[in-house]
Symmetry: C2
Subunit: 219 residues, 2 copies
C-alpha cells in the first residue's frame, strides 16, 4: 500500500505546480474561476445551462466540461448561450487535472468574465486536484440521501460552497433540503449553502447573485 | 501523461494477480460472489438490506461494504440480518482493490452461500479492478438521467447485469425505467436488466430470484 501512496503524492505535487501556473494566468486576465464537482447525475449540466441563460450578455461565461466520454454536455451548454465551451474527454480518468485545464484554455476566447469548470461526476478524486480555481463548489442532489456528507467528507471539506439540487423532489422523496443542509454543516460548518431546483428554477437567483459577486471581486 | 498510464497498468497487473488468488479461494469454498457498483446514493445499501431480509436463513449471505469513511452502511446491513458483514474504509481511495478483499475475507465466517461486495460509490475506477467476483452488477438510479450509460461506457460495459433503481420516482421525474433501459442497451446490448424500487419493494423478487440462481450455479 505504501508504494501506491507515494505515487499519488508525486502526481499531486506535479499537479500543484501546473495549477499555480494556470492560476497565475487566470489572475493576469482578471478571470473568476469556479470548479463544480458532484456525483454523476446530480444536475451540473442543467444548473450550468440555466445559469448561462440567465447571464446572457451581462456576464461573459466560459465553461470547461469534463467527461469520461461524449460531448453531450458541452452541446447543451453551448446551446444555452455560453460564450466559450470546451469539452475535455478524459478517456477513463476519474477527475480533471490542472494539466488538462492548461491545455483546454490554450485557445480560450478573450474577454471572458467567468470560467466555470464542470468536473467529472465523482465524489472522491476530483477533491484532491487543484485546477487553479478561485472557488470549489460541491453540487449534491437531494436524491443522494442525507448520509453522503459523512460518507464523502473529503469532498465536502474541500469545498467552500454547496448547492443542494433537485429540491423539487422533496415531497416525492420525503427528504427536506433543510435536513440535508444540517448534515452537510456537521461535516463542514463553514459551507455556504444554496438550495436549488435547476429543473423549475427555484433558488437560481441567489446562486446567480453569488456568481456575480465572484466576478465583481475581480473588479 | 504516458508516465501515469504506465503506473496505472502496473497497479492493474498487480491487482489481477491478487484477484486470481482471491477467486481461487472463493471457488474452493463454492461461494458465489457478486460485485455491485454504482454512483453515490443510487441505493446500494437499501437494496442490499432488503435483499438480505428476504433471504433470511434460506441463503446465508455475507456482505463486504466499501466506503471512503464511516461504518454507517455496514450497520444497516447487519441489522437487516446478514450472516457476516465487514466494512472496508479506503481512507480516500475511490475504488476497492483485490488486496482489500483478500484482507477482508481473511476471517470470513464459514458456510456462506453468497458474498456481495458493495463497492465505493463511483462510476469510473471501480470498473477497472477485478475483485475475484463471479458477476459484476451496475446499480443505476433513475434520478441520474438517461444520458449516463453513454457518459460512463466503461462501467456499463464492465457489467453483465444492471439494476435500475428508484423506479418509484418515475412520475415525479417524468422519466421511465423503459427509456433508461433503452439507453443502457445501446451502450451494452448484452446487459440483463432489473427495474427496482428498493424503497417500496417493486422488482425485488426477480432480483432475488437471479441471486438465488447464482448461488445454485455453485451447486
Amino acid at each position: 500500500m505504501t508504494r501506491t501512496v507515494t505515487i499519488e503524492k508525486k502526481i499531486l505535487e506535479k499537479n500543484d505546480t501546473v495549477a499555480a501556473r494556470v492560476r497565475a494566468r487566470f489572475q493576469s486576465e482578471n478571470l473568476a474561476v469556479v470548479n463544480i464537482m458532484s456525483s454523476p447525475g446530480a444536475g451540473k449540466t442543467t444548473l450550468l445551462a440555466e445559469t448561462v441563460k440567465r447571464f446572457s450578455t451581462s456576464i461573459r461565461t466560459g465553461v470547461i466540461v469534463g467527461d469520461i466520454a461524449t460531448d453531450h454536455d458541452a452541446k447543451i451548454i453551448e446551446a444555452a448561450g455560453a460564450h466559450w465551451v470546451v469539452q475535455i474527454n478524459t478517456a477513463g480518468r476519474c477527475h480533471l487535472e490542472a494539466g488538462m485545464i492548461e491545455q483546454a484554455v490554450a485557445e480560450m476566447s478573450k474577454g471572458l468574465d467567468l470560467l466555470i469548470i464542470e468536473n467529472i461526476g465523482n465524489l472522491v478524486c476530483p477533491a484532491g486536484f487543484d485546477l487553479g480555481e478561485d472557488y470549489r463548489v460541491m453540487l449534491a442532489a437531494l436524491t443522494e440521501g442525507t448520509d453522503k456528507p459523512k460518507k464523502y467528507p473529503g469532498m465536502y471539506r474541500a469545498c467552500s460552497h454547496l448547492v443542494i439540487n433537485k429540491i423539487d423532489l422533496e415531497s416525492a422523496l420525503g427528504v427536506s433540503g433543510e435536513s440535508f443542509e444540517h448534515e452537510a454543516l456537521q461535516t463542514n460548518p463553514k459551507l455556504e449553502i444554496f438550495r436549488t431546483s435547476a429543473k423549475n428554477g427555484d433558488g437560481l437567483d441567489r446562486w446567480c447573485d453569488w456568481l456575480r459577486s465572484v466576478v465583481n471581486e475581480k473588479g
